[in-house]
């Protein structure tokens, strides 16, 4: 029996994607490196490395280490700064037929606002993802994402500074993500990204030093998948916003699992490091799953876990 090709289109609030597969911030640079491996136009979207108002050096090395089925990173948000990005990186990304989601962060609410204002005027930006959940920077980052009022303030400020879709990237390092999701919604977020990394640490028993210079780092990869699926499921049931799911997605089965839990789109993060073709293989695999199960539209599986 020949079945019609299913539609892979999904939308993240006002942001329509040709398919549900995005790349996760910080794991795909500004797209250039991976463009050698496949045509970026195949992607539903690309999320850039987190941008700040001024360029940042990031944390001293060692910055990463492997853990069981996962990795710790404390890059410390090394980035070229928003102006350099707009001038030198964005034109490259704008060539492709895909949605460019720019991930931002700041040390103060004002910085978030300022970065947003510049991006709002730039051509080729399709959405802004607001990182209030980075565990690897002293100020800003997770400090905002683990406080309800700061979460509201930051998202509100970004919301007021742009008419682009605003995606709040929340921290999993809280007792309950739902109230944070709620506040982000009230502050005007159009969508949520779940999850950022879990705060972790590893020690080299020979040198007796932490394996990464920053001492603690963000845990990503398959190890955290069950936590991500749980959080997405909790938030999906409680809050009305569309969710971009991420956290350990390595292949299409994982991606489908996240969508069943409630993700409207999914992001490949650590998977890119292991397999540069991961995002395109995931797209093909989702399509195969839909065909095999006689489902004609990717959005029909969102949140469809029978729980």
């Amino acid at each position: 029996m020949v079945k019609a090709k299913p539609s892979l289109e999904v939308s993240i609030g006002p942001l329509a994607l040709k398919n549900p597969v995005i790349t996760a911030s910080g794991t795909f640079g500004y797209g250039e490196e991976y463009s050698k491996y496949f045509d970026l136009s195949l992607l539903g979207g690309i999320t850039t490395k987190g941008l700040s108002l001024k360029p940042m050096q990031g944390n001293p090395p060692p910055r990463i280490c492997e853990t069981p089925s996962g990795m710790l990173n404390a890059i410390g948000l090394q980035n070229v700064g928003v102006d350099n990005f707009i001038e030198h990186k964005l034109p490259f990304l704008a060539q492709f037929d895909t949605k460019v989601i720019v991930n931002i962060f700041g040390n103060t609410v004002e910085e978030y606002e300022a970065v947003t204002a510049r991006l709002d005027k730039a051509k080729g930006v399709h959405a802004i993802e607001v990182n209030i959940s980075c565990p690897n920077v002293k100020k800003g980052g997770m400090a905002f994402g683990t406080d309800l009022d700061s979460t509201y303030e930051v998202i509100k400020a970004v919301r007021n500074a742009t008419s682009l879709p605003v995606i709040a990237k929340l921290s999993p390092n809280v007792t309950d993500v739902v109230p944070f999701a709620d506040r982000a919604a009230h502050a005007g977020a159009d969508a949520l990204s779940l999850i950022n990394t879990l705060l972790g640490m590893a020690i080299d028993i020979r040198s007796r030093k932490p394996k990464i210079a920053n001492i603690t780092g963000g845990l990503s990869g398959p190890a955290i998948k069950p936590v991500a699926v749980r959080i997405i499921w909790q938030v999906y049931r409680a809050v009305g916003l569309p969710i971009i799911g991420m956290g350990g997605i390595m292949d299409a089965s994982d991606a489908v699992e996240f969508m069943l839990a409630g993700a409207a789109a999914v992001a490949a993060g650590t998977a890119n490091f292991v397999n540069p073709l991961a995002p395109v293989e995931i797209i093909a695999g989702i399509e195969r799953y839909l065909i095999e199960n006689g489902i004609d539209h990717a959005r029909h599986i969102i949140g469809q876990v029978q729980a």
Binding site: K36, Y37, G58, P60, P61, I64, E66, I75, Q78, F273
Partner: protein, 270 residues
């Protein structure tokens, strides 16, 4: 790309040579031949643990479709690799990185390797003795004891004068190879060190000594650096080391995977 193990043999306890084959594995995405100092990222096994690829330097390019690695069984990833047998598959990414530069005017290459550090230097020796006969190479190979002095015979077979040193004196001179290097330079520098370059790879303390020697004698030193890697292609910013930014006189972070792995030793903030 999926490559096939052709041969995977233990040289001596814990040190292996592996040949892998795949169409075009000896060339990069743009068709350029894999060059000495470049590396590959290998993923062994289907499991999510170990999760990340492991970097291994090009040891020898056997053909456009076949390359050889020399590796030390360091931990779980390389242990898994050591268990693969001919016919098994391994997922290989590369060649990656910049490779050893040979600026115009280089006539005399001092190749300095310690232990497993010989891995990429063999590719350099192959290249110099094969395609750059205008360059004379001299090799300095050190190791803890005789087994750890790798590749000396191959170097000599290529007609490269090769000095050896072991810490226990079981082969070559007893002591550190940097000592021999220093003596060599002292002995020969009166002929002028213009057109000389030192290529080094090995344990960190050795690289520091070589860099210091090079500086003392005013000779260029290109050194292959190591760092934990995730992506290997410049996207994650995980593999940086501190390097002098000559323009601004300050230190900046550069990526070992694509700004390196070979750096001008003078720029490295050791």
């Amino acid at each position: 790309m999926i490559a096939r193990i052709k041969k995977n043999e233990e040289l001596f306890s814990g040190y292996f040579l592996v040949d892998v084959e795949a169409e075009g594995i000896g060339r990069d995405k743009t068709g350029r031949s894999a060059s000495p100092g470049q590396f590959y990222m290998l993923k062994v096994g289907l499991s999510t643990d170990p999760l990340l690829r492991r970097p291994l330097s090009l040891h020898r390019k056997l053909s456009d479709d076949s390359v050889r690695f020399l590796y030390r069984q360091a931990g779980r990833g390389t242990a898994l690799l050591s268990r693969l047998i001919p016919g098994d598959e391994v997922d290989v990414l590369g060649p990656l990185g910049n490779g050893f530069p040979i600026p115009a005017g280089i006539k005399h290459a001092l190749i300095v390797g310690g232990g497993i550090g010989i891995a990429p230097l063999m590719a350099l020796a192959d290249y110099v003795s094969g395609e750059r006969k205008d360059i004379t190479a001299v090799a300095f190979i050190g190791g803890r004891s005789r087994e750890y002095v790798l590749g000396a015979e191959e170097f000599r077979e290529k007609g490269i004068e090769t000095f050896m040193a072991t810490e226990d004196g079981s082969l070559g001179t007893m002591g550190l190879i940097t000592h021999i290097l220093d003596e060599y330079i002292n002995e020969h520098k009166h002929k002028g060190t213009g057109g000389w370059a030192i290529y080094s790879c090995g344990p960190h303390p050795m690289l520091i000594s070589v860099a210091a020697l090079a500086k003392k004698h005013g000779i260029k030193n290109y050194t292959s650096m190591e760092s934990n890697m995730a992506c290997g292609i410049g996207a994650c910013m995980g593999c940086v080391i501190s390097v002098l930014d000559r323009e601004h006189g300050s230190s900046i972070y550069k990526k070992v995977c694509d700004d390196g792995p070979v750096f001008d030793a003078e720029d490295v903030v050791w």
